[in-house]
Symmetry: D2
Subunit: 348 residues, 4 copies
């Protein structure tokens, strides 16, 4: 922590600040210039930035280390690659996850899984527990939905990612899925994150709708500090003043996160855009910006979807998108599922 | 729902939209003007706004009812007064809740409770489970903290409000507290809200840091629709571009919510401001704007608080604030704890 | 400027940063700790923060002085009181400015002026040149409007404030008005601000809709650095994600600005709220938060106003508001126009 | 305009609303459903949305036409292609504009122009009048800068775009440049926009830092309604809560604007990102999202630039970016300057 004193700060004020820092367990290095005194505080203690800012004579206080450690590039300079079976997230290949918002019927789940698999998706996505703003909206099929999703993923030889909304659902999701998804609204459900720190499967951690990148990495830290090193970050749009789109898809977060952290970062253009016709350009933009993967809502009949129909793609749109992405990815030295993968047999 | 067709919409497009609405269970009323056709859709069905917007020829779709019902003034025109013992929240008196961010020691809890009681606070606040952005910050004393808080509240004859972070904590909090507090980060923890709908004590529901007023009322709806009619809304600042304050305290939300909903709304100027010297003007502004109550962090020794020290008031500052509020409240026909209340004996 | 180096920064990187700072005209003080090196740079030169941040081995760069000088409390600790005739803005009295959005007719201007004067307003407001988002909206009466406004102000013995939109209008506005108003959209029209720095009348500088407080004070600096010391700051609502109100009225900006700057700050609850029924609570909140004044839209017949009708108060509403404010102001040791002021004879 | 009445609205309230709409010059179509009455109002009159919203019994008011006309796809369905010499902006080719933030010296301007021309840029950019937040920052060379820029553009056979900050500069900029640039801070300088409506050269209109897409198109309407059909829109980042980047580059604005308007839209990743290392991924993302062009800051020696050095690219970075864009553009059926263009001889 660096404490910049005011120009008019008195010696007594400076000494009081030093004393408080020492009391908080810090070693203090004082540096006096022509107009100002600057104090550098380091050590094992915990110096409360807010409290120091309120002391008389203090002009500004600056933290000099990120509050997250395990998630940081300083801690681990090389990029983390997370493996799920033979899928490598964070490597050269851009991994595409696709599927319906919610599992609805066996037919819907099967048809959609086959369609996205054919187009090149390697991980199947689908929800059984749905966080909905209104208590009157469709809330998902629960375990019955997980059975449908797992069966379809197995049939298509795909891995499966599905959302966990509460600590009480962890065991159930774990039984059926390969990756836990934590939704944007739960990004700061610390009880849930702490528990997932003890899980042995990766966690796809969506960015909260108004979470700063620092808060997002701190939430990742909750999982990492529990011992689970498999955190995949997922940008899905932030809330801004603009109402022409449901959220503002923050494409710049992708390279920023890659600079600050070693964790892979994927993009969710479906929620970022909120409408089907905007998903394609946003998916292309995310890959061009360097995303390690995409997670996309596709539905065999989106006009009749029970949730998120407006932002779910038709299978044919998804095919076209995959073709476009195969042109874009090489521009930055990456690839997108070019050959058919061999059977892997997850979830058995 | 009102569907405004584009000027160039064809007859076939209009008929397709009508057919889709009917399929969704709506009755459709068509009204054709010189340049445009407007469709009014009402009924018991659920018309998906996003899907209709994507149909060819549709210019704009407007929902004509709020998505919340029980929380709305349309449903219940008269203001709701929530009683906790003989305290009435939402009546003529502006109710002040005060206390430390976290319970730390018996001495700290007792001293603070006595100070805020003397100044006129009727409800004691304090946390035992703390949601912290960083896994490395102080996380609260747990049940031991609840014991301290309850004892102090009993000694001072105050009601007690404390935060519940997870479904698994409901039973414990219920044993010690009179009001459940749901924090901003949990405003859309739907599993938690649903469970609190079955509780028999009021819920103080903080507004999420980037929640619209509509989303906030929908979260209240989760609790109300479970049968618990005691929801107290709490404005605590929203996230904006401005960084000079930690959050932007949205004072205008107070009269807006009072217009849209019958539920009482209180203000949390401590989190809204983020620093002690800003709490006083924000508390005065909230009461002047018509808030039904305040919840304020006060600590007997804020400079040594384990959490939120920078935004916790000194007891003497709190005294002065209460004196100022006693002048302001009558300007809008309200009062602030003028006489000493008789013993009530909660939590026994 | 304080430059915090990364933990792994090499000696060569540190020396390169020092060399660059010296090249930019700074004196550099180096302080080496156990894990990090911190460089303090002071001097007459201009160190480009962005460029230093990009240098290898640099962790963070912190500016240690505000970029504004003349507007700062550091430069001038005592509050500035701006006098317009015998009106003192920034003193103990909360000054109320009121009047119609635009001058429309002689009858409308005269009736409104008489009404607001009777209720206690001391400065008349009204627009002759209107910045409108759409080229198809009413754009004001121009000079004819200024004549009407000046005549009404003279008849009621009030000072007059009116908006200047462009350098070319300065001379004209100067001929009729006592205070130049710079609108939110022009807060960074630097050409205009620079010219107003040479004017001999005060400038009411509205905060831009998404201007940080720092940017706002920098815009004040443009006027001050030209030699015009009469800058009155005006908070009028910022743009956030919330759409329930047109803007979010940032009440907390009032005490923040008063802490950072010596300039008086007034509030415009009409634009902050955007609707008549929200103006009263926001005006009360602003005074309770410590505003030095208010500027409020009042119209003798707001339902037929040519602009801003929805946010213009009826005269009777304004009367009631003034009565409420007379109760609130003493809570913070201030007053609101209690006695009738003697004739002053401006603009003659 | 569609007026949705409240469920409990009385017949008298409905009739009053109808009467007010008729008085405002609208034809009203009334449609009564089981629970609500909906009024459709069309016509030549001007119905004030805000005023109608305040009437008793009104639940919601919805505008059914965009406030802009000439900028809208409804008015002109086919995309507008703007020609500057033989350069076509809005056609199949993605047009790249590049150059320094400010003209500083002949050598700097010449070297940079040659470098960007070689890499494939067709339009040279550079500022002579700089809008700076602080009055103490470098403000540009003025006409001397324009001379340098024009000479370099002529030498490299490029078109020239430069910023106009005020009506008084129009004539001068017109003498030297091919395209007028209107900066983000001037997006609602209506006096300036109105004058540019009479110019005979295209206007590159940057989006204001917190302008909605609707406001941006309304500002375009100011220029278009004056008779100048050459408006090029430019996305350059918006202000959000996130501080990890200077602005949040709103890539989704590109397809949204292309849907709402026929005008070409280009992207400014330099200001959108604010730091050099983020410009490349954002430029790729913009092209992948469908931008009609890019405007990029490049400097022959960015570490010594007098303004915006941190976000200016090195020539070698720009070369690499152009190579990547040549791979990406074909994914969406577009190209980027593949062959050398013949001499054209502008500005002679």
């Amino acid at each position: 922590m660096v404490v910049v004193m005011e120009e008019r700060a008195t010696e007594a004020q400076i000494e009081h600040v030093v004393a408080r820092l020492v009391e908080m367990g810090m070693d203090v290095h004082r540096s006096t210039g022509i107009t100002r005194t600057v104090l550098g505080a380091v050590g094992q203690g915990h110096a409360d930035k807010g409290l120091i800012e309120l002391l008389d004579g203090v002009h500004e206080v600056v933290r000099i280390s990120e509050p997250y450690k395990l998630a940081s590039r300083t801690f681990k300079p090389e990029a983390t690659v997370i493996t799920v079976g033979d899928i490598r997230i964070g490597g050269d290949e851009v991994i595409v996850m696709a599927g319906p918002c919610s599992a609805e019927t066996e037919q819907q789940v099967r048809t959609t899984a086959a369609a996205v698999r054919r187009a090149g998706a390697k991980i199947f996505r689908g929800g059984a527990f749905k966080p909905r703003s209104s208590p009157y909206s469709f809330q998902g099929l629960g375990e019955a939905g997980l059975v449908l999703l797992r069966d379809a993923a197995r049939a298509e030889n795909m891995a499966l990612v599905s959302e966990v909304m509460d600590v009480s659902q962890i065991e159930l999701i774990d039984r059926y899925c390969d990756i836990f998804q934590v939704g944007a609204r739960n990004m700061q459900n610390f009880t849930l994150l702490r528990e997932l720190g003890h899980a042995r499967k990766p966690v796809l951690l969506k960015r909260g709708i108004s979470a700063t990148i620092e808060e997002w990495l701190l939430s990742a830290e909750y999982v990492l500090s529990g011992g689970n090193t498999g955190v995949i970050l997922c940008e899905r749009g932030i809330r801004t003043f603009e109402t022409a789109t449901r959220n503002t898809f923050d494409v710049s977060a992708i390279p920023v996160v890659q600079k600050l952290s070693h964790l892979p970062v994927v993009a969710d253009p479906s929620h970022g855009a909120g409408r089907r016709d905007m998903v394609t350009p946003m998916a292309r933009a995310a890959v061009a910006a360097g995303a390690d993967g995409l997670i996309i809502e596709v539905h065999c009949d989106p006009d009749r979807a029970l949730s998120d129909g407006a932002q779910s793609m038709f299978p044919a749109q998804f095919d076209r998108l995959m073709a476009e992405l195969r042109i874009i990815a090489p521009a930055i030295g990456r690839s997108i599922c070019l050959e058919t993968v061999a059977r892997r047999g997850w979830g058995q």
